[in-house]
Symmetry: C2
Subunit: 104 residues, 2 copies
DNA sequence: CAATTAGTTGACTATATACTCATATAGTCT
DNA sequence: AGACTATATGAGTATATAGTCAACTAATTG
């Protein structure tokens, strides 16, 4: 049986990739169809589709069908909270390195 | 040059693995040496060492040497904040599935 | 300095991942 | 129905990852 650790790992893994982070960043303002997403992030349509499906399966995105188009959206605000906290960590580390350099 | 997206991916990747999440969980209460960590999580010493070094490199853990022992600790409270938010997401999803089942 | 203890690292294997190109599916419009 | 548009998927390749066993380094103690 899959444990809690593994479900957490699945969600984190779904976010832990540059192309997927670009998608998340692009979806910040609301849902978008695949045809808007892949040009915006500069990736191939098929590759983008795979990443979208992967994040959908992990429970990070939601999907809505409208005619030919399929709209993806960030499933919950907590997802963005995770990404934002990580951004903060990166900035703190950058600041820390800067301090170290000044000290030399 | 490495971009912000990539640094964020590095941190998330450092957390996105069951063995490493077990380590993070175990380090919640403070620093521990490798000799305490690997029996606690039920992994080989060498494998544990690799994961610890990986997280250290990603900036997720810090390291302190004391005699023969090397103590690892979670580098910042924001790391735990990320993991806790993800735990919340998993619980929300579980609750959501439960609701769906009840509806049937 | 030999023996012991704590941790890291090299070499290897098995599996997973990201990506690409080509093809398939599904909905829309004439 | 046939052409068109939006998305997904099969198959292949290249690279990354997790894990194991054995060998190695470094600090400690007798």
């Amino acid at each position: 049986m899959k444990e809690l650790v593994d479900f957490r790992a699945d969600i984190l893994k779904a976010l832990a990739q540059p192309t997927r982070l670009k998608i998340i960043d692009f979806l910040r303002d609301g849902e978008r169809c695949v045809c808007e997403i892949f040009p915006a992030i500069g990736e191939e349509q098929s590759n983008t589709s795979r990443h979208l499906n992967m994040m959908l399966a992990a429970g990070v995105l939601s999907r809505r069908k409208d005619g030919l188009k399929i709209y993806y959206a960030i499933k919950s605000p907590e997802i963005l909270e995770v990404v934002d906290t990580v951004t903060l960590i990166v900035k703190q580390e950058a600041a820390g390195r800067h301090e170290l350099l000044k000290a030399v």
